[in-house]
């Protein structure tokens, strides 16, 4: 399992992460990000993609 953290002060709810890694990130009906802080190693590629496509670099891989 791996862990991510989203800096909410940077997050601007673009939703690109939810496109790249829908198993980990989603936008709720208020247009705000909800995410799983821990995820299966098998999703690492998608999560790294999400980290790249965030326009404000708000997602951090921790470990």
């Amino acid at each position: 399992m791996k862990t991510i953290d989203v800096d909410r002060s940077l997050c601007d709810n673009h939703g690109q992460c939810a496109i790249a890694a829908p198993d980990v990130f989603r936008m709720n009906a208020d247009g705000e990000l909800e995410y799983e802080a821990t995820f299966d190693d098998g999703l690492l590629d998608e999560v790294e993609e999400a980290i790249d496509v965030c326009p404000v670099q708000a997602i951090f891989l921790k470990d």
Binding site: E48, D52, V56
Partner: protein, 406 residues
């Protein structure tokens, strides 16, 4: 960013040998969207500004050599060498062209001092220093950057006039209906939008400048109207940086012409990444074109890098992905998000709200030859945009899409 994403994707594609990224800017790769928005409004010091936008690199992108502040001025693609501004020559086995864009200038006579463009960190730092309350700002060009700069300046208390030129605010990417709504929105925030008149001359303050110098004091328009300015921002589009490739028999008429693998036509093993690459749009159809969106470097790197590695290793080039372009613009805390290629549409359909009042929330669908090719939302939560994105994605690549380069 193109160079960074290319390097990361080369490693991801299995390239284990030397990677050298050569860039003319002195800074390591950084993010540009804030340059017309938050960073223009409040950059802090130069160090703080760079720290705010510097791009993090994938931890898997190891052993990358960075040659910063090194402009490439010429290339001999047959000999596989590059020449730097210092006359140093670099030899290569494989080449990624990711030299991006530079701002176009308004090609009319007049003084140059006091005129700004927004492309590099230095541009934003210099411009910010001049935007004070009541400063008279003329913005020439009403695309994303022009509108964002106008909005940021207005937010700082400047008196802003936006000279639209040909087409309305954001009209080329968003179409006429939304453009009219954006104009209303800008005007409601005190921006004077001048439609349908081009700038014919930059004015100087007569009698107060020494010969050859002189600060721009405004603009004259084609109908003779004069608009005074303390600061002028030119936001009239971009030119691809391809001059260094001249003399190699490439099609450089608009960026570097490539096939759907981003392989440069007429040279190998060479690929192009980012805004400089001109390649077929297999979703929307039509001729090869450049896509000037933030996501383009990442999208193109994912196609170009495997193609280059395959060519260098003698493998079969993998079937290329077909990117789904996406873009956004933020003005006065209102977000516009787009997906696909709305600029190529021949018809639109309003899905939600009223495009003439975009700040209240609206969604518009774009069609070409009866097929959904794009969608734009304004002032709607991101989950609405993701919903429309899914529809555009599912309308897919058409049967019979022309897979040739031109």
């Amino acid at each position: 960013m193109g160079g960074l994403r290319a390097a990361e994707q080369l490693r991801a594609a299995g390239w284990e040998e030397e990677i050298v990224v050569v860039g003319d800017e002195i800074h390591p790769p950084y993010n540009r969207p804030p340059l017309s928005k938050d960073l223009l409004a409040a950059p802090g010091s130069r160090e703080e500004a760079l720290a705010a936008v510097q791009l993090r690199q994938r931890r898997t992108a190891t052993d990358i050599q960075w040659r910063l502040g090194s402009a490439v001025v010429a290339a001999d693609l047959a000999a596989r060498t590059l020449t730097l501004g210092t006359r140093e020559e670099l030899a290569y086995d494989g080449l990624v062209i990711a030299t991006g864009l530079r701002p176009r200038r308004v090609p009319v006579p007049g003084p140059t001092a006091g005129r700004h463009v927004i492309r590099r960190l230095e541009d934003t730092m210099a411009l910010h220093g001049e935007l004070k309350p009541k400063t008279r700002v003329v913005v020439i060009g009403a695309g994303f950057i022009g509108c964002e700069a106008a909005a940021t300046a207005a937010g700082l208390g400047c008196q802003v006039t936006l000279i639209e030129g040909t087409g309305g605010p954001m009209e080329r990417p968003l179409g006429h209906e939304l453009s009219a709504g954006i104009r209303t929105f800008l005007q409601a925030h005190g921006i004077d939008c001048v439609a349908g008149k081009r700038v014919t001359e930059f004015l100087d303050v007569s009698g107060t400048h020494t010969e050859g110098a002189g600060r721009c004091a405004g603009v004259r328009l084609e109908d003779g109207t004069e608009v005074a300015a303390d600061v002028v921002i030119e936001a009239v589009g971009s030119l691809p940086n391809v001059e260094w490739l001249a003399g190699n028999g490439l099609d450089l008429s608009d960026g570097v012409l490539c096939n759907e693998h981003l392989q440069v036509l007429g040279a190998e093993p060479v690929v192009a990444v980012g805004d400089v690459a001109r390649y077929p749009d297999r979703r929307a159809g039509g001729p090869a074109r450049r896509v000037e969106h933030w996501a383009t470097p990442a999208d193109t790197a994912k196609i170009a890098a495997p193609a280059l590695v395959a060519a260098l290793q003698g493998d079969v080039v993998p079937e290329p992905a077909v990117p789904l372009p996406s873009f956004w613009s933020d003005i006065f805390k209102t977000r516009i998000q787009g997906v696909g290629s709305p600029a190529l549409a021949d018809t639109i359909e309003v899905l939600e709200g009223d495009p003439s009042r975009p700040w209240e929330g609206t969604a518009v669908a774009y069609y070409r030859d009866g097929r959904l090719i794009g969608a734009v939302t304004a002032a709607l939560p991101a989950d609405r945009q993701l919903h429309y994105r899914k529809l555009v994605n599912e309308s897919g690549i058409p049967a019979g899409a022309n897979l040739a380069a031109v």
